[in-house]
Symmetry: C2
Subunit: 349 residues, 2 copies
């Protein structure tokens, strides 16, 4: 809609937004404008799953400019990542946005671009949604997916002795934070690459699907609130503890960022924002799982073992990791940048 990017949503009104912003973008989607969105026609027996998550303020927005594109991308990633942890194939996303009337059409389009681009990267799309005005921006989505019956991955089902694999490449988001706050320095091209990856985290749908289809995962969970919280919860769901090695392979530029900032790779690897999966795999399946994932282009590393002893250890010491928790005084959602980086990575303020 040319010439309208500076208009406010409150200038257009609900019907104007529908006609001038949403219809040009989504009008060809089957069921556009209907009370219920059309997700898919399912013709083979399927286990259906759904997940819903809201989007916090992206850390990259705290580090850089307030571009709603990043929130849109993150909103889709967060929800698709939960489907990945189930080994599900996405059928579509429904979105639910609360936005101030003063939001410009241009800002709104950036939000929609971020969600749509991320969905397209994962081979899915927004099928419908809801929009209302409110004092504060709130972005929520629900992803629906399907699994082959019997293959759905859950948090439970692991046994003591199962190995823990981490899929994906950890550390990009907080390496970008170290770079953006001057705690490390890299040549511009490497720095730009890290920034791009921090802005465009990918849900591990391919990893989840490969593991589910081949019966190689006994339990899985995505790293949404930090590696420590994930491993702890995965252990608790199975009445187990975990021993992680504390040794992590980081992509090479990230290892240099760590060294400059005086951090171990473990410090960077146990943050969040990269949307890896932690997967429990029988010891004898580790080789096959690793091979199959790498053949699909998925980064994977073994990080530890589930143990009959409760409690978490890293190397030879107890693991007292960091975790985001909601409804608590020390939640980091919406924290200030000046305290966030030091708190998350235990580096000087």
């Amino acid at each position: 809609m040319s010439g309208t990017t500076e208009l406010h949503l409150g200038d257009l009104g609900e019907r104007g937004i529908q006609e001038h912003v949403l219809r040009p973008r989504y009008g060809d989607t089957e069921g556009f404008g209907d009370d219920s969105a059309f997700l898919a026609t399912v013709t083979t027996p399927s286990e259906l799953v759904a997940t819903t998550d809201s989007c916090p303020t992206p850390v990259v927005n705290l580090l850089g400019e307030p571009d709603l594109y990043h929130a849109g991308w993150l909103l889709a990633t967060i929800n698709l990542s939960d489907l990945a942890a189930a080994g599900a194939e996405p059928l579509g996303l429904v979105v639910n946005y609360t936005l101030p009337k003063a939001t410009t059409v241009g800002e709104f389009e950036r939000l929609l671009d971020g969600v749509d681009d991320c969905c397209a990267e994962h081979g899915t799309k927004v099928v419908g949604g809801d929009l209302r005005d409110g004092a504060a921006t709130q972005l929520t989505a629900t992803a629906v997916g399907s699994c082959v019956p019997g293959s759905r991955l859950r948090r439970s089902g692991a046994r003591a002795g199962d190995r823990l694999l981490l899929t994906g490449s950890p550390g990009y988001l907080w390496a970008a934070a170290l770079l953006a706050t001057g705690r490390a320095t890299l040549p511009a091209s490497e720095r730009d690459d890290i920034w791009q990856r921090a802005c465009r985290p990918m849900a591990q749908l391919k990893a989840g699907k490969v593991l589910a289809a081949n019966g190689l995962a006994r339990a899985a969970m995505d790293v949404s609130d930090g590696l420590f919280a994930t491993v702890r919860t995965l252990g608790e769901a199975n009445g187990l503890g975990a021993a992680v090695t504390g040794e992590f392979d980081l992509d090479e530029p990230l290892a240099r960022v760590c060294a400059q900032a005086g951090l171990r790779p473990f410090d960077l690897a146990q943050t969040w924002g990269d949307w890896g999966l932690v997967v429990a795999v029988r010891a004898e399946d580790v080789g096959l799982a690793t091979k199959m994932l790498r053949e699909e282009g998925v980064a994977v590393q073994e990080i530890g073992t589930l143990t009959a002893d409760a409690g978490l250890t890293a190397g030879t010491a107890p693991w007292r990791g960091i975790a985001q928790e909601r409804f608590s005084a020390n939640s980091w959602h919406g924290g200030e940048l000046s305290t966030l980086v030091p708190e998350v990575l235990s580096v000087p303020a």
Copy 2:
């Protein structure tokens, strides 16, 4: 969780809420605690639909006490009503709650009771969700449903000459408002009954299913923003106008409320909050559709005709009805009671 109803959610923290409130209630739900909720196993070919809506402050909360039960019930109704308009069978609801840390466990339990009770009344349930803390309460849900392939109802598909049916009994919510604000008086038992129905609106799932299964509806839409907005939008979706008779059958006590308040039944029938469906039906199918709906216990009345002429008429005059619209200056979402009733019903303040 006895003895904890006065605790605040911020006292329990995310993990405490999970263990002490959510697990006792939902722990037996398959997939409880997993990243993705389990919706259903689909074994026959199905068209899947999804809808998402947030819940405004219920009018009954403005009229009475601030009980989150009503918001919970309404949240489920709003979403299930969209499935009804598609003629879909609900597979389950995922919920997304933002609540202040100061919310008490008792208040939270009332919210969950309202959602769960409404779902149970409609033969479905909450399968999963997300919870986070925030400055203001925001309640969102997504309902997923399935349709027999080819039977899904949409807003489009109607023709000029199709008759408009309204399912459900209109007027309960705003009759309750007239009673609560002293604009009408009824014996206590009738008044209580109207109040109960205003607090517990039912989505028209049975109506949608009967019409879809028998191919009797050419288009359908639920009355979420008032009858005027619904008929106007249904007409626009088909490039048509509509002529409504302006004559409505109200349940008998509501007719007395109207008379006392100096209103026509039409004034009360064109409000919202009762979650009826407006359905376009071929003229020759009106008798059969009406008969089949009544056999299922669904109230239904013919209210008008879709017309080739654009524009809306009520009786012999243009219909200038009332409509809620978001992102506009005159939206009634969150309005004050002192102005809401006069504005919606055009009665003296």
